[in-house]
């Protein structure tokens, strides 16, 4: 089980060809109090860079961009009723999607924890 990070402040934990995706603690802190999340449905396919949801905080609306190609296999439905979980535990209970990767070689374009820490300074 390995965790990768994107420049758009998402994390992806990979097990085989399935993965769990969420936003980083750093992203959640920058957004401020999250009040709403719009998620796509299970079964939706997406391409790297495509919009796969929107998170709204008290301050602004921010799109979630796909860090690689894949398909949504499961949606964390709890977030709709409890969006503040994204502030409390963004890298744990408040995962956003389970996804099936189309091309696991795309993981090589993402960062490891040290790389991500360097990015956010």
């Amino acid at each position: 089980m390995t965790t990768y990070y994107s420049e758009d402040h998402e994390w992806i934990t990979v097990e085989g060809d399935t993965a769990t995706l969420g936003i980083t603690k750093h992203a959640a802190d920058q957004l401020g109090e999250v009040v709403f999340i719009e998620q796509q449905d299970s079964g939706e396919e997406f391409e790297k860079g495509g919009e796969i949801g929107v998170i709204e905080s008290v301050k602004a609306a921010s799109e979630i961009y796909a860090p690689l190609d894949g398909e949504i296999t499961e949606v964390n439905e709890d977030l709709a009723d409890n969006p503040s979980a994204l502030n409390e535990d963004p890298e744990g209970a408040a995962w956003i999607y389970k996804i099936k990767l189309s091309d696991s070689s795309q993981l090589e374009d993402l960062m490891d924890l040290d790389g991500y820490k360097a990015l956010i300074g």
């Binding site: 009040v35 709403f36 609306a61």
Partner: protein
């Protein structure tokens, strides 16, 4: 130090003028006090919107009239009757015949905040206006908004649709303010 009592955001407050050179030092002195917290534009915006107050540039501008913006209370009775001020012809006409659109409070039913420029549709799906201000209202505990709807719409209780990122969300026209003002008069 000059200061003025202010209800700019629908709550008690003071506006303070500080010489440029001392602004940072005096602000830090305020923030050192236990009861004093910083509040930015976002906090001020949600406060005034919950109080049902217009923001110039969002809800009113050079194209809107005070009658459309439900600000007729701000015009003296004598002025309304006699006119004789810039824009009097339009304002007196709208007072007599009604305005083409009016500013109303809008309460989204779900959690999705409806922000500026979101389209408002009537229950039948026709476009009747646009959101001019919208945010999450912390005191209300949900999204709040205001916007203009065309004549014939806008009675409190009317059900409308808000088109947010291409999806229709249920909302209701409500009387303003969202939060009753509780400042001292």
């Amino acid at each position: 130090m000059p200061y003025l009592p202010s209800r700019l955001h629908g709550e008690d407050g003071y506006e303070i003028s500080i010489p440029d050179a001392d602004a940072v030092r005096i602000t830090k002195l305020f923030l050192a006090h236990d009861d004093c917290e910083p509040a930015g534009l976002g906090a001020r915006d949600s406060l005034r919107l919950e109080a049902g107050l217009c923001l110039y540039g969002n809800d009113i501008d050079q194209s809107t009239s005070p009658i459309e913006a439900s600000l007729a209370w701000a015009i003296q009775k004598r002025r309304k009757e006699e006119g004789g001020f810039p824009g009097a012809a339009r304002i007196q006409k709208e007072l007599a015949e009604g305005a083409a659109k009016k500013l109303v409070g809008i309460k989204p039913s779900g959690r999705a905040p409806a922000r500026q420029h979101v389209e408002i549709q009537c229950a039948e799906g026709n476009t009747i206006g646009e959101i001019t201000s919208g945010c999450f209202g912390p005191t209300v505990g949900g999204p709040v908004a205001m916007g203009y709807v065309s004549a014939g719409h806008g009675e409190p209780g009317e059900q409308v649709k808000l088109i947010i990122r291409g999806k229709a969300h249920d909302a209701e026209i409500v009387a303003l303010p969202f939060v009753t003002q509780n400042y001292k008069r």
